[in-house]
């Protein structure tokens, strides 16, 4: 019963958000600041995560390919393909579920328990337009860029580590990456990152917006937002792979 209640409240919040999305003037300023907080400020951590994921992938692939019959360019192909199709989107999604999701849930939760959301409504604002829409749109618009940054960092990380450990030359690595590069794979990653951007920001907004019970309630909302975002990132990744690949 509680589950249906939660789904109903979540859908209602989304409906309110979609209905008032035309009030661009109200959330324009917030949208740009949210895009900076969600996108630009996250580039460092996701690039780092991508770089090391690509690096580890290169080392592990070369460790498993012991046969001399397999060309070394395959290492580049596997690393770049894995990053583009799956890892860049999922790794950045999981990192951002923690970084962005927790921030959104905490911000909105604090605003709820300190009556700032009530204050907004009292003045005549639609608090959903003002608080939820810019965060969700910022997530949807910036996650694809973050995904690309993660994928590029991963490929660069793989190439550098391959070169430094003498397992594959940069030329061979990039040759493999180019040989197995398909534009659809990038499109698939971008689609996934759109979905992850929506899932993470909307769940976090929902949990924060309806937080209650003081500091403990905000802590609980933040934890739930992060955990649920991670679960739904993995789940939606699976569903999209099953549907689109």
């Amino acid at each position: 019963m509680q589950l249906f209640l939660e789904i109903g409240k979540y859908c209602r919040l989304l409906y309110e958000a979609i209905r008032s999305a035309t009030e661009f003037k109200t959330y324009r300023k917030n949208l740009f600041s949210e895009m900076v907080k969600t996108g630009v400020d996250s580039l460092g951590i996701v690039s780092l995560a991508g770089f090391f994921t690509g690096a580890v992938l290169t080392i592990q692939t070369s460790y498993q390919f012991t046969s001399a019959l397999i060309p070394k360019s395959t290492i580049g192909a596997i690393t770049s393909q894995s990053m583009i199709i799956e890892l860049a989107a999922v790794i950045s999604g999981l990192v951002l579920a923690g970084r962005v999701g927790a921030r959104i849930a905490t911000e909105l939760g604090n605003m709820r328990v300190s009556e700032q959301i009530d204050a907004l409504e009292s003045m005549g604002f639609n608090s959903v337009t003002f608080l939820v829409i810019p965060r969700v749109i910022a997530g949807i618009l910036t996650f694809p860029i973050i995904y690309m940054a993660t994928a590029i960092s991963g490929i660069i990380g793989g190439a550098i580590v391959g070169y430094m450990t003498n397992t594959v030359t940069t030329y061979e690595f990039m040759e493999g990456a180019r040989l197995y590069f398909f534009p659809w794979d990038v499109a698939f990653g971008v689609i996934k990152s759109f979905v992850f951007g929506f899932v993470i920001t909307s769940i976090s907004c929902y949990k924060g917006y309806f937080a209650s019970g003081g500091a403990e309630g905000v802590g609980y909302a933040t934890t739930r937002a992060t955990v649920l975002s991670c679960i739904y990132v993995l789940l939606s990744s699976f569903v999209l792979a099953a549907l689109l690949l």
């Binding site: 204050a119 009292s122 003045m123």
Partner: protein, 244 residues
């Protein structure tokens, strides 16, 4: 005029309000008094549609809140200024910007006009030198005064005060009380003060409504309150530090 008719409200199995009727005439100051947890703030949130009753009606100048669309409700809400218990200032912007906030979104004033209006409201609450201080740098009393400046910046017809003096020292409480009196008298604003601070209530209000056991237990003028023989009301006022 604000009217509450046959209002009923519960949260789950807990009944908060049962058949409450109350009228607040224009230009008057009403204090709603009662024990902590008696549902005073819940009642206040019904007055501007932040909460809806399970049954019954709330009428603002004859318009039933239940009949309004969300867009109309937002317009009606602009008739109200609300001072929340903790000030409810937006902590991501400065004190000045908090007061300027509604002006930036709901008026077409120029930057100079906004500055002038904000400064005049801050002067009214004796905070003209607040500058661009962040809200975290403000004391509890200052937060309430900035909250009050923000509440009056759009020149509302009604002002709702939720525990305006709670958590403040007696001197700061008196300053807030003076401001409430100033707003009511000089700006002719209809005020509703939610409080259990009898000292404040007796200073600022003309009428009082006593809430007890989910009902409006007593209603009258402040002079009548002082002479009332309502047992529960007497117990409540006697328990207050302030001696009538």
């Amino acid at each position: 005029m604000l009217e509450i008719k046959d209002l009923k409200k519960s949260f789950g199995d807990t009944l908060v309000w049962d058949n409450v009727n109350l009228t607040i005439n224009d230009g008057t100051t009403l204090a709603i008094i009662g024990k902590s947890g008696s549902g005073k703030s819940v009642l206040m949130k019904h007055l501007n549609g932040l909460m809806y009753p399970d049954s019954g009606n709330v009428l603002i100048d004859g318009r039933n809140l239940n009949d309004l669309t969300y867009v109309d409700l937002r317009i009606v809400r602009q008739k109200f200024g609300v001072l929340f218990q903790g000030g409810a200032l937006f902590d991501s912007i400065s004190a000045f910007e908090n007061v300027a906030f509604p002006l930036r979104y709901f008026t077409r004033k120029t930057e100079k006009e906004i500055r002038d209006r904000v400064m005049s409201c801050l002067e009214m609450v004796n905070l003209e030198n607040i500058g661009d201080k962040g809200t975290s740098e403000l004391s509890g009393g200052m937060k309430k005064r900035v909250g009050l400046a923000r509440a009056i910046v759009l020149e509302p017809e009604y002002l709702l005060y939720d525990e305006p003096t709670s958590g403040l020292d007696p001197e700061t409480s008196d300053e807030i009380n003076d401001l409430i009196i100033h707003m009511s008298k000089n700006l002719s604003i209809t005020s509703v003060v939610i409080s259990h601070d009898m000292h404040s209530v007796l200073r600022v209000a003309e009428f009082a409504a006593f809430i007890d056991e989910q009902k409006l237990s007593w209603y009258g003028t402040i002079d009548e309150l002082k002479k009332s023989d309502n047992k529960r009301l007497m117990e409540f006022t006697r328990a207050s530090e302030y001696q009538i």
